[in-house]
Every structure is written in C-alpha cells, then in structure tokens.
Amino acid sequence: MRIRRHRRWMAPVVAAAAVGLALTGCTGDAANDDAAEVDCADYEQYGTFDGAEVTAASTIVDIEADRLNESWADFETCTGIDVEYQGSKEFEAQIAVLAEGGNAPDVGFVPQPGLLARLAQGGWLIPASEPVEANVDEWWAEDWKPYGSYEDTLYAAPLMASVKGYVWYSPTEFEEKGYEIPKTLDELKELSDTIAAEGEHKPWCVGLESGDATGWPATDWIEDYMLRMHGPDVYDQWVTHEIPFNDPRVVEAFDAVGEYLKSDDMVNGGIGDVSTQLTEAFGTGGLPILDGECSLHHQASFYETFWNPEGGDEVSVASDGDVFGFLTPPANADDPQAVTGGGEFVVAFREAEEVEAFRAFLSSDTWANIRVSIGGTVSANKGVDPENASSELLVQTIQILQDPETTFRFDGSDLMPGAVGADSFWKGIVAWIGGESTTQVVDAIEASWPAS
C-alpha cells in the first residue's frame, strides 16, 4: 500500500522532470552580444529608439535565417530596435491571409513581385519612405525598381538576389576534350551535339522533380530562351500577358528548349531517358557531372551549395576546380548580356518610424556589404564590393548584376499570376516532357490565365 501511494505521485513528478529536461534542450541560452565593441558611426542616421520592436518574416529558414539575424545584430545594438525574425516555409501561402486578418508581421521579405502586387492591391502595404526610395534609386539598376512597385508607387526595396540560367560544367573535362565555352545559343547546341556524337555519355543531366512544384527548373529554361531569343521587351509583354502564352514566339522558345529536354540523345546523362527528368530531384540533377556521366547542367547560381550534399568542400566550385558555371549565352555573340534572376522585396505592413528605419538600413549598401561578407548569397546593390562575396562564382554573379550593360529580368513565373506561374506553367512542363506537343501545352496554359 505504501509503495503504491509512493508511486502515485512519483509518475507525474518523473514525467514533469523529463519534460522539463527535454524542454531545456530547446533553449539556446544565447547570451546577448556585448555592445561595447560595435562602431555605431554607420548607424547614427537611423536614429535611436527606446524599446521599439520590429517583427519580420519570410521563407528564409535555418542557417540562412541565422545569417540574416547576424547581419542586423549591430543595427539592433546601435539603434535599440529589437528585430524579431521568424522564418517559415509556408510564408508565401500564408502572408495574404495574415494581412487580411490584420496579423501580418511588420516587415516581410516577399520573393515574388506578383505576390507583392497582390498585397499592394489589397491595400495592406505601406509605401516605401523617402530614404528607402532614395536608396533604391542610388544603389539599384533601373530594372529592379518596377518589381518593387505597384501602379507607380514604390512599396519595397530589393534585398538579396540570385542569377538564374547558369550552365554548370566540369572545367577538367572541358580542358581534356578541348571544349570551348559557347558564346551563342547555336554554339551551345553544337557543343551538345558534339558531346552526344562522341557517344561516351549524354550531354545534359536534368532534374525537374520538386514535390508539388515539379517542373519549375524547366520554366527557367523557357524564360532564359524567351529573354535571349526575343529580347526584354517581348519578355515583359509575355509575363504581363500583353502577348498570349501561345504566341508563336513562345512556341519558338519552347521548341528550342525542346531540342534538349525532349530528346533522348541529349538527356538524361547518368540518370536515364527523357521521362526520368520528372522523377529526378532538382537538387541531385546535376551530380552526374561529378561522375563523368554528363557534361552540362542548367540551374541557378544557388546550385553552388548543392555540389556538396553532405556539406564540407570535397567538391571545389571554381573555374579551375571540379565544377563551375557559365551563363547561358546570348542568341548572337554581340547581343548585350541579359540575365534572369530572383530576389526578395522588403515590404512593410505597419507604419512606424522604427519599421522605416529598419527598411532604410536593409536597402543601404552598408547592410548589403555586411550580408554578402557573411557568405552564401549576393545582392544586386551597386554599393557591394564584389570581393566581399564568399566564392569565385558569387563574385562573378555580383559583377554581372552590377554591370550597367546587363539587362536584368525577374524570373517570369514569379511575375505571372499564381494560377499560371505556380500551377499551370509547371503542370504544362510536366505534360510537355511527358510527350504532349508544344502547341497543346501552350494552349492549355493560355486557357488557364485568370481573367481578373
């Protein structure tokens, strides 16, 4: 009897202790950094605040989120603004719902101009303040401003950037076999034909699988070809639906890409036949290059970190290393350089001085340099010193973005309405690779374009 009574309170106590211990594991007990060593001269212009808090949210999580927090740590110390950042993979799906319910964070990093326009249309966004607009005018190329604007009002400055349309290759293989880096789209085709004719392996390896977003890497192909074959003006008309999706020029771009993605001679090196593109994850699609089973892989600059899936630096990404990237070439050798890319935009949902001070800081060259120095990403901010970037490829990316001759266009599917850019375009690609004709596919996508 005695033992039983003993047990009765033992169980809950033990359980509570265990839960308590487990929960302490969640605490980082991160000590606040000492303010003493920070040089606050750069931050004086943002003023000082007492007990102000700014909440921020975006899709950026894990290590990238830690890097963001690190980038504005000094800003917090010097201005007294406490930035509460929360990353969530569901941010894009939730933000409109949160805004409608009045529960949006103070600041959001929106990765799609289309979503930004929708939020602005809903009347939930605060227009950018004068210092932010001044920063945008001073530090960003003209191409960027419209993407942060809605109906001629600037709502947001860009944050970070990535360049799409890199073709990854093995510098060693190129040297051994005497391949040249192609300067036009035709040369790229010739090179692919040469590799295919030599018969050792198929030239391209492609991975389009990405869960319910399967197909998106091929939309990057189409966008690259649209921009290079028909120029920025037609590209703009295409993404804003001034020309229909089944316009002959779009068909032309599809067919040019189809010479690679729909041909069993071209794909899928080291993986299998054409149909395997849809089952190979985009993250591992390029890895056969390392085994010498394929030569070329088309993917954005962020693919740099994918070469070492287990982390570390076993595979060196450099122009004299194991893999490196060249930009998808222009249609003609003397065409001006045109690239597609992506980035985030810093929108605000609350009108307050501390929010605008934070936004002004994020749009400054100070922040861009701090963030680029931490590594792993770039900014299109012209004030960034390319040497601050953490790798050869990122240095090159910054130079491309800063080059005044470069035409920059945002990833087209991010600009189109969600029903197309995040649904029927991807599904269309899947059907297209699966064997449907270009006409069938572009007609279906055109039909899905929402009326309003």
Partner: protein, 322 residues
C-alpha cells in the same frame, strides 16, 4: 530562446489552465444555483453552449464563407466562373473523373477483400496472427505508406538495375521496365492500390468482429436445413452483419473522397492523377485562386452528402427493426 523565456512560457501555460479551470468552476457553480423552474433547460443550454460555440466558429462559419467564396472571383465580384472552369477545363474535368474512379473502386475492393479475409480466417488456428498481418498497414500514415509504395513503383531506365519491386518483377519475366507513375491510366489504379492496402485491414477487423456477433443458433439452424457454405454466408452471415458492412463501406468511401496525402506524395497531381481534394489545395493555396479552391470544396461536400444520408438511413432502419 533562453531559459527565462522557457520559464515564462511554462508559466503562461499554467496560468492559462488555471484561468480555464476557474471559469468552468464558476460556470458550474452558477448553473447549480439556477432557479428551480425550468432548471433542466437552463443546465442543458449552458452545458451545450461551449460545444455549440466551437461548432459555429469552427464548422458553420467556415462552411458558409467557403460557399460564398466559391461564387466570387479574386477581386470579390460575384460570378459563376469557378464552376464554369471546373466543368470545362480538361484538367479540372479529369480531376472529377479520377475522384469518381477512386470512389468506385477503393471502398468496394477493400470491403470485399476485408470481408473475404475475415470469413476465411474466422475460427482458424492462428487467427490473431493473420489479423495482425492485414491490420498493420492501417497503423502507417498515408504519407508513410506512399513513401513505401514509391519504392515499389520506382523506375530505372534501360539496362540499369531496377530497384522498384514491380519493375524488377517485370524485368525478371523478360519485360521492359515501365514508368508506372507516368503511364495514364494505370497510375491512378496503382495509387488506388495503396488506399486499398491501407483500408482493407480496417474493413477486416470490423467485419470479423461483426461475424463473431452472428448468433451461432442461426448458423446451426441453416446447417440443419442442409445449406452449403456459400448459402450460409449469403443468407445468414451477410444479413447479420449488414449494419457493419454499411458503416465500413461508407467510412472508406468518405476517406477515399477526401484522399489527398497519397496523391500529393506520389505524383503531386501530375500525370493526370489529380483528385478533387488535391486540386482544391493547389488552387486555393498555391495558385492563389481561392474561388476555384472553394468551388472544389463545395463539390466535394456535395459528393459526400449522399453517402452520409445513406449511412444514416440504413442505421435508422436497423434500429427500427430492433
């Protein structure tokens, strides 16, 4: 998060629970003190109030809002476009057809296999173990089951070694490997197989229990009348377990109508395998076409309705017989 934060949060939880207990206690105290006249009604109403409140907030209000959204476009104007889209766009029509195929096959086959299995192993030696084997898949989540079956259907092209069970068998018999998940319409059938694999165990356990409830006098009487096994099964067992059969069949039908996880994990709705629930999510949350998503939700509701009505009717009749 620091330890101080954690303690603060734990304190918040404890405080919250204390406040909740206090409010409930107070409420019960006052209900008890209610005037004698009509006290029953008072008590009934007050005890029902919290549950009703949650039903209204969590079920009735969203249902009404979804119905309204189904008739609006993205700018909030009233329109029938969402329904026109649903019944004219080939991709959307295919979604509806697929859902019908699912509902036509999955419940009937799982119930049939479950019933046959239950009858065959009834009173056999090692019945427990046979049951466990078939019942195990039901403990696996739909996503988990899909991941397992993804390996079964896996495809490697050409001469590569097949790691998928199905293709390995095909190749062993000298056939060409098939991209199972990309071949329409076999892919939808193969997805339904996963559903059947999960649900058969559920059907078997419930029906087995029901079979044991059939009075042995009836079976013996039938035996004395000279019936064979099939006649006994047809005319004694099945009528005896009719109620359970209907419950099993309708439960699986509703689960099938709502199927989302299997399709999303296996094909994400590509290759013409999408079903209403998957398309509903895609349209509402990925394509930001809330109206189309709501319209699909409404259609799903309309599909489920007759099944529930049938279920309730049969159960009511059974009660009347008793």
């Amino acid at each position: 998060m620091t330890t101080a934060d954690l303690l603060g949060k734990i304190l918040q939880v404890v405080m919250g629970l204390a406040v909740f207990a206090a409010v409930v206690g107070l409420l019960i105290f006052f209900i008890d003190k209610a005037p004698k006249k009509g006290r029953d009604y008072w008590q009934l109403a007050l005890f029902l109030l919290p549950a009703m409140l949650f039903v209204v907030i969590g079920l009735v209000y969203p249902a009404i809002r979804t119905s309204l959204l189904a008739f609006q476009n993205n700018s909030g104007e009233w329109t029938f476009d969402n329904f026109i889209w649903m019944f004219t766009q080939p991709a959307a029509i295919r979604t509806l057809i697929n859902t019908f195929i699912w509902v036509a096959l999955a419940p009937i086959i799982s119930t049939a296999i479950g019933l046959a299995y239950a009858v065959f192993i009834d009173k056999s030696r090692g019945e427990k173990y046979y049951k466990v084997i078939l019942f195990m898949p039901i403990a696996i989540s739909f996503v988990g089951a899909s991941v397992i079956w993804k390996f079964v259907y896996e495809y490697r092209s050409g001469d590569r070694e097949q790691i998928g069970l199905l293709n390995a068998i095909v190749v062993a018999f000298g056939g060409e490997p098939v991209q199972w998940m990309q071949t329409d319409p076999i892919n939808t059938i193969l997805l339904i197989v996963i559903m059947i694999w999960i649900q058969t165990g559920f059907a078997m356990v419930l029906l087995s229990a029901a079979i044991k409830g059939v009075p042995s006098e009836q079976v013996e009487a039938a035996q004395l009348d000279g019936t064979n096994a099939w006649q006994r099964f047809r005319n004694v067992t099945v009528p005896g377990i009719r109620g359970s059969l209907v419950v099993v069949f309708t439960t699986i039908s509703i689960a099938t109508l709502k199927v989302f996880d299997i399709v999303r994990t296996m094909t994400a709705g590509n290759f013409d395998t999408s079903v209403v629930a998957n398309e509903m999510y895609t349209q509402a949350f990925r394509a930001s076409e809330v109206g189309r998503g709501s319209a699909l939700a409404l259609i799903l509701f309309v599909f489920v309705l007759p099944i529930i009505i049938y279920n309730v009717n049969v159960l009511r009749k059974q009660r009347e017989i008793r």
